[in-house]
Amino acid sequence: MSSLLEWAPVRAVWRREVALYRRYWASTSFAAVSEPTIYLLAFGYGFGSVVGELYGYDYKEFVATGVVATAVLFIGAFGGMFNTFIRRTFQHTYDAMLAAPVDVHELVTAEASWLAAKAGVYGCAPVLVGMAFGLDPSWGMLLVPFIGFLTGLAFALFGVWVSAIVPSINTFDYVITGLLTPMFMVAGTFFPVTQLPAWAATAAWFNPLFHCVELVRGAVFGRLGIDDLVHVGVLVLFAAVMWGLAVWKMRARLID
């Protein structure tokens, strides 16, 4: 049935995504740039005037790097959850695709990797906006799209998995408020996790987004070390587990 992962079906599914992207690129790009701008204005100037500096960084720079993670999280997880659910249940797009020589694991891989690519590209927007607000350019910034891709991939697969286990689209509210919101608050995005009580700081280590934030700051501020491979490892592991779960549950939903 399906053991190999073929390249042709993955590319074909991307082809559809590209065609759709031509319709909505303007609104997506607008949101990707304006959101970090708002965060930077609100937190950077509002909050930053109280905080001033944090660990030697200007608070605006701290936020600009943190917001990369939230952008990546939202593109990956929301895309994985909502797009996948709507295409599967309302539009029946996947039924049409699976009647062609495409298998479920290829479909899931294609959908998630497309979202990951978008996360990689739009994850750079906060850094660019940050530069407009005075963040110094660095070579390490060139790693941001790759960190965004990996994190986006993992969260997109998480979203696909969730979309296949929820009974209705309303259930996403529990996931967003109960899981994603705390996740993006306690990841060192707006304040460092070291400020938190010990148990929460420990919990952050189990938050994939925390590892994304660490990698982004390390890359942008040019202090990446060999130790940071741990963060990459956690994200790769998270992505791999989510791939397995997403394929398993999507297959159960699409093939009866």
Partner: protein, 314 residues
């Protein structure tokens, strides 16, 4: 693959679709029940039956989107589900439900499926143009699908399943819910497929559709085929040559049914009347007892359909 196996497969593939004792259950419901069905290459087989007879499940089994609990299935000589991906590459599927991408143009919808069906790059443009011509949408190629009429969308849906010039096409209720005018158009499209030697499996519950398009009909009820043959043969065998309809009060309807049944003559309700089938076989005595009918008409496939699948639809 060696030439020998190519030749061998070609021989096997003289039967385009083969199902052997196939059973598919969903919980307590048996959707397909020990189904045997063969579709020779090059014909249009009409799969007839009421809603819930198992037609759509049978279609899904053929693309391995449903997996059988028991039995053997092969498509174009390829065993399912093991070789389903190769089988799907050779097949075109037109679903009952319109699942076109509304945001995309007619051309883009076809392009996506040309990629999904792996039409080689060099021939892709031509394949899409050809499919647009089949759908008669060449001058609407750049129109977003959401702006197309119901008939245009259905033509596009069919053309999407033909973009890779498949040898076998599965049409699931191709004209359900469409105007008579639009149905005519689609029928000529399906008839052309058959003329080109494409094997077609078409499920429908429109009798006229099957009568006009199908070389052969399989009548499904409760998950299995209850009758198989050309429309003419089925009519002759199960409904005879002529039918007489009696428009009479309700008590008399039941009486006519009882009288006919006692002589082994099939009847069916036709709204306020009762139709006595195989009217040419009525004996003199019974003919007199039934009285003068209100209408005499030739037997048709609908008579067969109702007699074999029951008067009441669950």
């Amino acid at each position: 693959m060696s030439l020998f196996t190519v030749a061998g497969m070609r021989m096997l593939a003289d039967v385009a679709i083969s199902l052997r004792q196939v059973t598919k259950r969903y919980g307590d419901i048996t959707a397909v029940d020990r189904l045997d069905l063969d579709v020779p290459e090059g014909i249009c087989l009409g799969l007839l039956g009421p809603n819930g007879a198992g037609k759509s499940t049978t279609m899904r089994l053929l693309t391995a989107q449903s997996l059988a609990d028991e039995g053997e299935i092969s498509v174009l000589g390829l065993p399912l589900p093991q070789e389903s991906k190769r089988a799907r590459a050779l097949m075109g599927v037109v679903p009952q439900l319109d699942n076109l991408d509304e945001e995309l143009t007619a051309r883009e919808n076809l392009e996506v499926f040309a990629h999904l069906y792996r039409v080689p790059r060099a021939g892709r443009r031509a394949a899409v143009d050809r499919a647009l011509a089949i759908a008669q949408l060449t001058d609407r190629a750049g129109t977003r699908t959401v702006k197309l009429s119901g008939g245009m969308r259905r033509r596009l849906l069919i053309a999407r399943g033909l973009v890779h010039e498949p040898r076998l096409v599965l049409l699931d209720e191709p004209t359900v819910g469409l105007d008579p005018q639009v149905r005519q158009e689609l029928w000529s499209l399906v008839a052309r497929l058959r003329d080109e030697g494409v094997t077609t499996l078409m499920s429908t519950h429109y009798i006229e559709e099957a009568e006009r398009l199908a070389d052969d009909c399989a009548l499904m009820s409760h998950g299995t085929v209850v009758a198989r043959g050309t429309p003419a043969r089925l009519v002759k065998e199960y409904a005879g040559a002529s039918v007489q309809e009696h428009y009479v009060p309700a008590e008399r309807l039941a009486e006519i049914e009882r009288l006919a049944a006692a002589s082994g003559i099939p009847t069916r309700r036709t709204g306020p009347s009762v139709s006595v089938l195989k009217a040419e076989q009525l004996g003199e005595g019974l003919r007199a007892e039934l009285g003068e009918p209100s209408v005499r008409r030739p037997a048709n496939l609908e008579d067969v359909f109702v007699v074999l699948t029951g008067e009441n639809v669950e």
